[in-house]
Amino acid sequence: MLVCPIVGRHLPIFFSFMENKTNLLIRSKTVDSDGRRRFLRYAGFTAVTATTILAACENATMEPSTMGAGARVAADGSIDLGSGDVGILNYAYALEQLEYAFYVRVIATPYAGMNAMERMILTDIRNHEKVHRDFLRAALGGAAIPALNANFGAINFGDRNSVLTTARTFEDLGVSAYNGAGKLLSDGNNLSTAGKIVSVEARHAAVIRELISPFTASFAGDDVVTSDTALDVVNMPGTVLAAAQPFIVERITASNLPTM
């Protein structure tokens, strides 16, 4: 049973306990009498007033979701991704936020010797990550985690190698995350959505790797693609978040994510 939590300081959190009626990614099995998947209409943030927040909150306590609960900000400021498909999509949203913030810095403070081709590629990737971030935020609606703050202190943005190897790490990490999360999703439409994004991340990874090691096998190198079965890198959320956490100011918790 969902219980209305204490109102947090971040606006999006207001919506996180509105049952699952503010996002597109969740079906409610309670209305699924015929067993078929149904999707609830997206209601934009702007349409939601304080009154409806309260109304929906009451509603939430009457209609517990079986598809997962939205994000929570704990008293210590840590952010829980939520549960079910919502939790997995928040996990993706967190990673896309991180990637976008990184490429914003890369373009704003270009490394020494960045040529026109590199600038075009990195600008394209920045834009794609913004699209992914904005799309996931809109799709998650009220269940989304708040905006995260990045910590890029370990990256030397003036140095080509530092930037590109970090980009490679983020892209490969993203590929591994989506590859591992697919089986954790319970709804086919959410899986399809993730699938549309992961192959673009893989394209990024290949192109970044090509910038680092041109005309080699690195674009799909044996360090990420198994040599015997030719399967790409895969990681579960715990591993991915441990790798991503040093770059994120807020502590992310994933204890409610599905594990199988």
Binding site: L24, L25, F39, R41, Y42, I121, D124, N127, H128, K130, V131, H132, D134, F135, A138, A139, V175, Y178, N179, G180, G182, K183, L185, G188, N189, L191, S192, T193, G195, K196, I197, V198, S199, V200, E201, A202, R203, H204, A205, A206, V207, E210, F215, T216, A217, F219, A220, G221, V225, S227, D228, T229, A230, L231, D232, V233, V234, M260
Partner: protein
């Protein structure tokens, strides 16, 4: 060269094609008139193969794996012939195609193992697509064009089948891990051809491979609207799936029936 040429190339197809298409009556096919029947052949073959695979093995997972194996057979043989054709691939580029070829060979082996006794033998391929690409192994540009088409098709094909594999987590994960490898391949070949690694709108050839990839509405959300970015950028940001029939319509002209 466009898709219509591919279909027209099927006019050279011999009558054997209909013998192999056991789920489509010959009378039905010919009742359209010869020309119409031949143009319609790819889709008829596609849906017929689809049924043939599905009926013998009710397990949808097996069906998807057989479909994937057909595409991997195609890619594997394509690169093997390319690498073994003297003078086709410049020395500087061989490392790229060797890596891709290694992966496709591994995918074939993996899928064959997964299918076990349900495995289908490799069909005979015609990489000219019945004359549509006569220079496939003599002109490097043609070879690269088809390599890109096969990889981008592979990405879209696996993507389209993923939801059907949700009943089997290990198979789903395996398919996703092949899917992203194909995307790495596709990106590298696109860059080799002087293109972006990602697909702007429907940029690529043949057109059927990129049909619908220009989409910018996702899950009822107008993504250019919420992101403030152009339709071109948004289309690059999402790779769209293809249905099995769409993929078979692309692939079957390369299968000698």
């Amino acid at each position: 060269m466009n898709l219509q040429n591919l279909f027209n190339a099927l006019e050279n197809v011999d009558s054997e094609i209909y013998e192999r298409v056991k789920h489509v009556s010959r009378r039905q096919l010919f009742s359209f008139g010869k020309k119409a029947a031949l143009v319609a052949a790819p889709l008829a073959v596609a849906s017929s193969l689809n049924k043939a695979y599905g009926q013998s093995m009710p397990d949808r997972t097996v069906e998807v794996l057989k479909f994937a194996l057909l595409l991997e057979y195609l890619e594997d043989e394509f690169y093997r012939i390319g690498l073994n054709t003297a003078g086709l691939i410049p020395g500087s580029d061989r490392v790229i195609f060797q890596q891709i070829s290694k992966h496709e060979t591994a995918h074939v082996a993996l899928l064959r193992t997964a299918l076990g006794s349900a495995v289908e033998p490799k069909p005979t391929f015609d990489f000219t697509a019945r004359g549509a690409f006569p220079t496939v192994f003599s002109n490097y540009d043609t070879f690269k064009t088809l390599a890109q088409a096969f990889e981008d098709t592979g990405v879209r094909a696996y993507k389209g089948q993923a939801p059907a594999l949700m009943v089997n987590d290990p198979v789903l994960e395996t398919a996703l891990r092949i899917h992203s490898v194909e995307a790495r391949h596709a990106a590298r070949i696109r860059v080799l051809r002087g293109m972006k690694g990602w697909i702007t709108g429907m940029e690529g050839f043949p057109g059927a491979v990129y049909s619908g990839d220009q989409a910018t509405n996702e899950r009822e959300i107008n993504v250019p609207g919420i992101s403030g970015l152009s339709s071109s950028v948004v289309s690059e940001s999402f790779d769209e799936p293809l249905t099995k029939d769409q993929v078979l319509a692309i692939a079957l002209p390369f299968v000698r029936l």
